[in-house]
Symmetry: C2
Subunit: 142 residues, 2 copies
Amino acid sequence: MNLLLNEIKQKLLEKGLKVTPQRLAILQALMTHKNHPTAEMIIEYIRYNHPNIATGTVYKILEVLVEKELIRKVQTEKDIMRYDAIMDKHHHLYCSESERIEDYVDSELDELLEAYFIKKGIPDFKIEDIRLHLNGKFLNLE
Amino acid sequence: MNLLLNEIKQKLLEKGLKVTPQRLAILQALMTHKNHPTAEMIIEYIRYNHPNIATGTVYKILEVLVEKELIRKVQTEKDIMRYDAIMDKHHHLYCSESERIEDYVDSELDELLEAYFIKKGIPDFKIEDIRLHLNGKFLNLE
DNA sequence: TTATTAAAAGAGAATGATTCTCCAACAAGT
DNA sequence: ACTTGTTGGAGAATCATTCTCTTTTAATAA
């Protein structure tokens, strides 16, 4: 049993979820592929080892994982949902020419923003979380 | 003919779009209601004066308006799209307990961010636009 | 003002991601 | 191993959105 799977098991148990092969596979797929995949992409990947997993099951599991805060939905302008297993604070780089979305981690920026809003504040709004959407072009090939 | 409608006509003509009652109604609805409505909400509102407008027409017009940059899609975690007619640079406040989304304009913040990224830069990424998603709770009633 | 024509709207079917239902299988504690 | 509530499978159902095809209309020119 590899280390990642044990880690995932642990996460599931901590949230009071039963450990099942399907859940392990989906979380493992999401933690391995950091490209913010769609449900479709996850299904395709998982079917290599789990040929019989039902699409409805995948959607249901993704929903549960989002609810339990083990993964996140990624906001896009498309009606196809994408998912993210990185739960540490980070922002996203959105390609304006493709569907590519990359993580952007910058604790200096986070501190800057936090300080800014502590000083400035927003009337009648209590900030819980700040996420930047940086739209632009990637200069390297994926 | 009221001022807003003339203004909207102008916008359409500038983009090379024919001026139709349906397009006027949709843009007028979006410019009047700044709540980032769904297509469904726009249809419901418009039908008061345009009982016969087809839903397909509304979707088609919204698509054209997005393409011509007269309106924007608002990113959410739902698979129901929402639209925004405010094209000036602004950010969004997302309510963590409801579907409410409010605009947040802050040119001081924009300058701060611009300066930060000019200084810092992101490897292999050319920023075109920076949008903040501020998640939290509204302390007033809508 | 009317004629012309490409663009746009209408109606309703089609699509496709996601959700739901209902039953069988299974994980986890006894 | 046994029991039970939870979870997965299969496929139908849903519903926002898109597509197709036809009719209407806005904008231009005669």
